[in-house]
């Protein structure tokens, strides 16, 4: 007979059961999670930026609880509950080092669910190409050099939306309605639109090799700064990288094209 032990055995059995299921539940809590990166449009070498991470719970029965994402030793806010099938996003301040493509990213997802005794974590390697632009280095001397070459607010022959009417042409799909010349259109059978000149300053072409700086990297940083500055002031900017020439233009997409070219110039793809 062993009666004295049995109530104790019952309690120990319950504790063992609890340990087992808490381990399984904690393990399952991190399963079937889909992680997606949503980097900001501009990421510069060595400059802190906010990275958005989407977490999707693909589990069919249970929610995921108390999730935290750790990326580059930075921890996200806690996601207290992510219901089955739901998606949420968290932001993490990150800094990428080295210009060029960063295509593999190691991050870990952790949780102390169900009990605070253990923290479970899972390391995930994500394939997502993030282009890191050269860090803009404020090279005022180069900027003033370009300013001296041509004054601002000069009208150019390029198409714009603010200058004088260059010519009247037939409407083509995609043209903004504000450009329609209603009076003329009324006199004709077809819609006529106004072609205005651009009020931007004189276009500039940046050749990093001709910029001041002790090294290629320094000159690329200067070029990055200049591209940002000229885009901000709506001045058409072009780029000459060896044999490759990017014609001068304005706008954010053009800026990213130039910065991407700078990021890849003379360098292979980098991984952190």
């Amino acid at each position: 007979m062993n009666t004295g032990n049995n109530l104790l055995y019952l309690m120990v059995s319950a504790l063992l059961g609890f340990m087992s299921i808490s381990g399984i539940l904690g393990n399952q809590n991190l399963k079937n999670l889909r992680i997606l990166l949503e980097p900001p449009e501009e990421i510069y070498d060595g400059v802190e930026t906010l990275l958005t991470i989407h977490i999707q719970n693909n589990r069919r029965l249970l929610p995921s609880i108390l999730l935290e994402i750790l990326f580059q030793e930075q921890c996200s806010d806690t996601v207290y509950l992510l219901a089955k099938g739901d998606t949420t996003k968290v932001n993490i301040p990150v800094t990428f080092y080295g210009r060029g493509d960063h295509s593999q990213h190691k991050l870990s997802i952790s949780s102390n669910f169900p009990i605070n005794f253990f923290i479970r974590s899972q390391t995930i390697t994500l394939e997502h190409t993030i282009v890191v632009f050269p860090k803009p280095f404020p090279c005022r001397s180069a900027l003033s050099l370009f300013s001296e070459k041509s004054g601002l607010k000069n009208e150019s022959a390029q198409k714009g939306y603010e200058g004088d009417i260059n010519c009247i042409v037939d409407y083509q799909s995609g043209e903004p309605l504000k450009m329609v010349h209603w009076k003329l259109s009324a006199r004709h059978d077809s819609l006529k639109i106004k072609k205005l000149s651009s009020t931007g300053a004189e276009p500039v072409e940046i050749d990093p090799n001709s910029l001041p700086g002790p090294s290629l990297e320094a000159r690329l940083c200067c070029a990055s700064f200049l591209i940002n500055e000229f885009t901000r002031s709506s001045r058409p900017v072009g780029l000459k990288l060896g044999e490759t020439v990017y014609p001068a233009a304005t706008g954010r997409p053009h800026k990213y094209t130039l910065l991407t070219a700078l990021a890849h110039y003379g360098n292979d793809t980098k991984t952190p």
């Binding site: 004295g4 019952l10 299921i21 108390l66 207290y80």
Partner: protein
């Protein structure tokens, strides 16, 4: 919104009450006072968020309690200081500001408190308390994890419910695994902490001494004496033999060492009984009269068929007893009759006179017994538990003055008069009756069924005589009602308690070993006797059916509303268009065109719009689609000849 601390506090207080509650009756006064006070102070402090006891002061108070109770510790007194200390430490934690660590300490101390309760009692109430504690502590620990992240965390009610639902998996599965682990955990042959158990409190009812007149009234105690698993037997045969009292000293009957006696049990019907004995402060082992063999625990057997355990019964025991109902205890040798004829020196004249008359009128032992029975009947004695004869000359007062008493009066005066009339006699102590519980198929014998009867030596055979049956009110006396029907509720409760004792309290290494052996044996015999009937398949069928239902349930739960709807739709059109092939990979619109059915077109339009715009179906759309499926099915029924 739900502030996470509120449900956490609620769980903490509930866990404290359930954990420490079972210890209440064993606590000292300070702990008894402090526990409810601490609960009240803690509760109000949490509401006001203002605490009188903080950091160091609480540590100092805990230390003071520890030192006080540690100074009281000794080998004979371990449990009391320990449980009081556990409860007082719990109280300190309740009234201090609650950090994550403090909550954890409250949970652990509550668990300790319940574990300590198992040192005092094996009651079935431990089980519901443990279940509650497992639920409370596990869900509490999950909430505590949230609390640790952010003590001021507030969550939407729907989120909170979802978290609690998920957390409930922990206690449910823990308890299921508990059952498995309980069965398979390796057992030790020695109790883990019985060395610190307190001595078992004395049981009332059955006694190893009979002293009529020592009390003025007898209270009926309903505490369990033992349970006996045996066939249903006639009421008049339910005499449970425990001890034999062979010596009378003044007015007290007791047991002294027997002269060497060789006996044999003859005749009667053999009955096997399994008795489950709770903890006792004596070593008497019971058996249906006349017991002749016993197994289950180490014991000694005397010539008068009294079985004594070699060790104190400080834990529940299970014994197998073989008895002969209606059997006779036959002496094989001549015995020293004078041993059973000894009487106290000072006897009342009325008793002497009665004995003298019987001795004179009765020629043989049989005749004298009959004469004494006649005398008892003539005296119009009443069976009673109150207004009993006093202690100076109880037997004379019982027979000639008050003429009322309970079994001890009847048996001791009968045996004494037999001895005085030169008929060797002794008292037998045990129980009479038993409540048969047909839910569990056993007799429940309680302490209020304790009984004493007489054995007289007639022609070298010990004959059972129950003088209490000679009471004028025997037919309606409580003694005669001892094999009564229990109420269904009591029966059910006692059955649960019985199964608790069977399955948990007495589960040991031997049972564990037996379980493994039986499983192996059954498996081998199953392989050998490969003769299967349909009935053999029933359990398998039920299990398969159960698994199928669970699997379907899981599938239903895991599939989306849209998936289920589409499945029903395909099933409906397959039934309706039996002759046509309905390929699954064809689009809904294409299928509708193929079938030329306006209902299918409507279904495709509604479902398709949700599918292609990647939004979930609204309730209205869902109901509309269900209605379409219903109409598709309805038309099927109509067209089916």
């Amino acid at each position: 919104m739900v502030t996470i601390q509120k449900p956490l506090n609620l769980i903490t207080y509930s866990v404290t009450i359930i954990g420490a509650g079972p210890l209440w009756i064993w606590l000292n006064l300070p702990a008894r006072i402090f526990l409810p006070v601490a609960l009240a102070i803690g509760f109000t402090s949490d509401l006001k968020n203002s605490y009188t006891l903080r950091g160091h002061s609480s540590t100092l108070l805990s230390l003071a309690f520890f030192l006080f109770y540690a100074s009281q510790l000794n080998l004979e007194n371990i449990v009391q200081p320990f449980v009081n200390l556990v409860v007082l430490l719990l109280c300190v934690r309740l009234i201090t500001e609650k950090s994550s660590r403090n909550y954890l300490q409250i949970f652990v101390l509550s668990l300790f408190a319940l574990a300590s309760a198992s040192m005092f009692s094996f009651s079935i109430f431990f089980f519901p308390a443990l279940i509650f504690l497992v639920f409370g502590i596990t869900i509490g620990l999950v909430l505590l994890t949230f609390y640790t992240k952010d003590p001021g965390l507030r969550l939407p009610i729907s989120d909170f419910i979802a978290i609690v639902k998920t957390a409930t998996i922990l206690p449910v599965v823990s308890l299921l695994l508990m059952l498995l682990f309980f069965v398979i955990l390796p057992r030790t042959e020695h109790p883990l902490w019985h060395f610190i158990s307190p001595t078992v409190s004395a049981t009332a009812g059955f006694s190893d001494k009979v002293q009529p007149g020592s009390i003025s009234s007898l209270a009926a105690l309903k505490t369990l004496a033992f349970r006996a698993q045996c066939p249903i037997l006639p009421r008049e045969t339910l005499y449970w033999r425990g001890t034999v009292l062979n010596t009378i000293d003044s007015t007290t009957w007791s047991r002294t060492d027997l002269p060497q006696e060789k006996v044999i049990v003859t005749g009667g019907e053999t009955v096997q009984c399994t008795l489950y004995l709770p903890t006792k402060d004596n070593t008497f082992l019971f058996g249906l009269d006349l017991p002749f063999s016993l197994s289950g625990i180490p014991h000694r057997k005397s010539g008068d068929q009294v079985f004594l355990a070699k060790r104190a019964l400080n834990k529940n025991a299970k014994i197998e007893v073989t008895s002969r109902i209606g059997g006779t205890l036959q002496m094989l040798d001549t015995i020293d009759e004078s041993f059973y004829l000894k009487v106290p020196p000072l006897l009342s004249p009325r008793l002497l006179e009665t004995a003298k008359t019987i001795r004179k009128e009765g020629g043989s032992a049989k005749e004298r017994i009959e004469l004494l029975k006649q005398f008892f009947l003539q005296q119009n004695l009443t069976y009673a538990n109150t207004d009993l004869p006093g202690s100076e000359s109880p037997m004379e007062e019982f027979l000639f003055i008050k003429k009322r008493g309970y079994c001890e009066f009847f048996a001791s005066s009968f045996a004494l008069l037999l001895r005085m009339a030169d008929v060797p006699a002794r008292l037998v102590g045990g129980y009479l009756g038993g409540n048969y519980n047909n839910l569990g198929d056993y007799y429940q014998v309680t302490e209020d069924m304790a009984h004493v009867w007489v054995e007289a030596l007639v022609d070298s055979k010990w004959t059972r005589i129950d003088p209490t049956r000679l009471a004028q009110n025997h037919a309606e006396s409580t003694l005669n009602q001892r094999q009564s029907e229990l109420s269904l509720l009591r029966k059910a409760f006692d059955s649960i308690d019985y199964f608790w004792t069977q399955a948990v309290i007495t589960y040991d290494f031997q049972k564990q070993f037996q379980l493994v052996r039986n499983t192996g044996k059954n498996l081998r015999s199953f392989r050998k006797n490969w003769k299967i009937t349909w009935q053999d398949f029933y359990p398998l069928l039920w299990i398969t059916l159960g698994i199928f239902v669970i699997w379907q349930g899981v599938r239903w739960k895991t599939s989306s509303k849209e998936e289920r709807l589409l499945k029903h739709y395909y099933s409906a059109i397959r039934k309706k268009y039996k002759g046509q092939s309905i390929p699954e990979n064809v689009g809904l619109h294409e299928l509708a065109i193929q079938l030329e059915d306006p209902l299918c077109h409507e279904f495709a339009t509604i479902f398709g719009s949700a599918l292609y715009s990647e939004h979930k179906l609204t309730q209205e759309e869902y109901m509309k689609l269900l209605n379409l499926i219903y109409h598709l099915k309805k038309r099927t029924t109509k067209t089916t000849p």
